[in-house]
């Protein structure tokens, strides 16, 4: 069990998709398909829709938030996003998705040491308190 900070609180369950490389969603995520498309990223070609995406922080474009909002609207967003430290971009996308569509996704900030424990393929449950456990 890992205790994170619920930057945007919510519940989610899904398969973990973990990377140690930062990601820009603009130029990095296709909101039509929910696939990671940044050819320079280790997760290129992997579908993140509905999964619990663990990415240390956002990088690159300011439009990352808008891509994520489109993804929420299209139903292709990750089920939750786990980061190291507080990432304001992911938080904002979730907050605006809540305002616009009444749909948000949990954004949880973890200590780097806890983040390093995550493994792709694990089935994770994210609780409203920010607690993350394997199922």
């Amino acid at each position: 069990m890992i205790a994170g900070r619920a930057v945007v609180a919510g519940e989610a369950e899904g398969e973990a998709l973990v990377t140690s490389d930062a990601l820009s969603f603009w130029g990095g995520y296709d909101f039509h398909t929910g696939e990671i498309i940044d050819k320079r990223h280790p997760l290129a070609g992997v579908r993140a829709a509905g999964r619990i995406l663990a990415v240390p922080f956002s990088k690159g474009s300011s439009t990352t938030t808008a891509v994520l909002l489109e993804a929420v609207r299209a139903g292709t967003a990750p089920a939750a996003i786990l980061t190291t430290g507080v990432d304001s971009f992911f938080a904002l996308a979730s907050i605006v998705a809540d305002v616009m569509y009444g749909k948000s996704f949990p954004v949880i900030a973890l200590e780097a040491a806890d983040f390093a424990l995550l493994r792709s393929g694990e089935r994770l449950v994210v609780e409203r308190s920010g607690l993350i456990r394997t199922k």
């Binding site: 990088k59 474009s61 300011s62 439009t63 808008a66 489109e70 605006v96 305002v99």
Partner: protein, 421 residues
């Protein structure tokens, strides 16, 4: 715990209308995310939310506009999703053009100045040193903070407009002196003067710095040339594409870094990394994904080409003509095109066979026809994003390389400075 002023609270309560209420409600939730104790005033904004992606960005813009939203501070607009006058020359669908134009109209109704450029610092809305601003657009954020010394956090789309409508931002991060100190030192070691003088150098260095910096503020030392403004623009755009650089210091170059001591505010760097010619060569190689000599299009202008850049291009192309198989496109702003026209710089570029797209760029508007598969550019930002966003292959080179390749109809690069010995 967030302390709001009476004015903040009146916005949040809806006393000032539904639009400030919506904007303030988002801002207050974000202030909590940032851990801000209070909000503070800004005197200018640059809105990146103008980029049309799909129904969600349009619905957000039209919701604010329909609530009667007005910006509270002078606000410039970033690129949109369409060149309103020129889109019919390209592969943009009428449906896309119509929706992107609706999104532009929504931000104009809110009072944003129709600059439609990702280089707002090269318009008359350039902020000043120390000015508190809320800017979106990664390259513009890095430029405003680092090259001008204005103060903005790294604001994302959808939040920038909330700051503009309320005139307020969370009092955190890069707005505050103590968070502007350098964190890591990147020292050029034995990088020859000739390489530093090459017009690709600062874009390549920026690309490398972005990949090395992670989420820290980098300080670059031992640059021996004085970069031109457009070289710093290329650096900022590259570093904020390959990385998340929102502020950098360059010793002896940028305004908050007259000395190492000043750049680090008297603290010690968390880490020091040497940058050698070998690493710069490798970084430059990363910007090229094409392996042959085929060339469909030369693309210049991310960030938007300035008058100075157009003025450098003009003599290189004067009296020449682009190869019939190759397109040559420059993305720029309305203002720069007008200035270039007035100063006579535009005529030789048009006679060369170059096209100019305004208000947007190839990354923000689906304008390239599918037969365009291989690009060449002198922009590290175009080189970084085009392979993933456009599914094209790209070659990075100097401005002269780009022009020569366009004339010959195949990729030609002068590698004398960059080849491994």
């Amino acid at each position: 715990m967030l302390q709001l002023t009476d004015r903040d609270r009146s916005m949040l309560n809806g006393d000032r209308g539904p639009a400030p209420q919506l904007a303030m409600s988002i801002l207050v939730r974000m202030a909590d995310v940032y851990g801000a104790g209070e909000l503070m005033d800004i005197s200018q904004a640059h809105v990146d939310s103008t980029i049309y992606l799909g129904d969600a960005t349009l619905e957000f813009a039209e919701r604010l506009a329909s609530l009667g939203a007005r910006v509270a501070v002078p606000t410039s607009s970033n690129v949109s999703g369409v060149d309103e006058c020129g889109w019919r020359d390209w592969a943009v669908s009428p449906e896309w053009a119509a929706k992107a134009a609706r999104q532009m109209l929504a931000y104009e109704r809110m009072g944003a100045v129709p600059t439609w450029t990702c280089a707002p610092y090269q318009t008359n809305m350039r902020p000043s040193f120390g000015q508190q601003i809320a800017w979106g657009e990664s390259n513009a954020i890095a430029f405003a903070n680092s090259v001008i010394g204005a103060r903005t956090e790294r604001y994302p789309d959808l939040l920038d407009i909330c700051c503009a409508i309320t005139g307020r931002v969370p009092a955190i991060g890069l707005h505050l002196t103590e968070h502007r100190a350098g964190q890591m030192l990147l020292q050029l070691v034995d990088v020859p003067l000739a390489l530093q003088q090459d017009d690709q150098f600062f874009a390549v260095l920026g690309h490398l710095v972005g990949t090395l910096a992670g989420d820290r503020i980098p300080v670059i030392d031992a640059v021996v040339v004085q970069p031109a403004e457009d070289e710093l623009k290329a650096f900022a755009a590259a570093a904020s594409s390959s990385g998340r650089v929102a502020l950098f210091h360059m010793i002896g170059v940028t305004p908050e870094a007259p000395t190492l001591e000043a750049a680090f505010q008297g603290r010690a760097p968390e880490q020091t990394i040497a940058i050698t010619t070998a690493e710069l060569r490798a970084a430059r190689a990363e910007l090229t994904t094409a392996d042959g000599r085929e060339l469909d299009m030369v693309i210049l202008g991310s960030p938007h080409f300035s008058l100075a850049e157009l003025s450098r291009l003009a003599p290189l192309v004067a009296g020449r003509h682009v190869h019939p198989r190759v397109k040559f496109l420059v993305t720029s702003s309305r203002l720069m095109k007008e200035r270039a026209h007035d100063t006579g710089v535009l005529a030789p570029i048009a006679a060369f066979g170059a096209q100019i797209t305004l208000d947007t760029c190839i990354l923000a508007s689906p304008m390239l026809p599918p037969e365009i598969k291989t690009l060449m550019t002198n922009s590290a930002k175009y080189a970084y994003y085009a392979p993933s966003l456009l599914n094209t292959r790209v070659t990075f080179g100097s401005l002269a390389d780009c022009v020569r390749s366009a004339i010959e109809g195949r990729v030609v690069r002068d590698e004398s400075l960059w080849q491994t010995a």
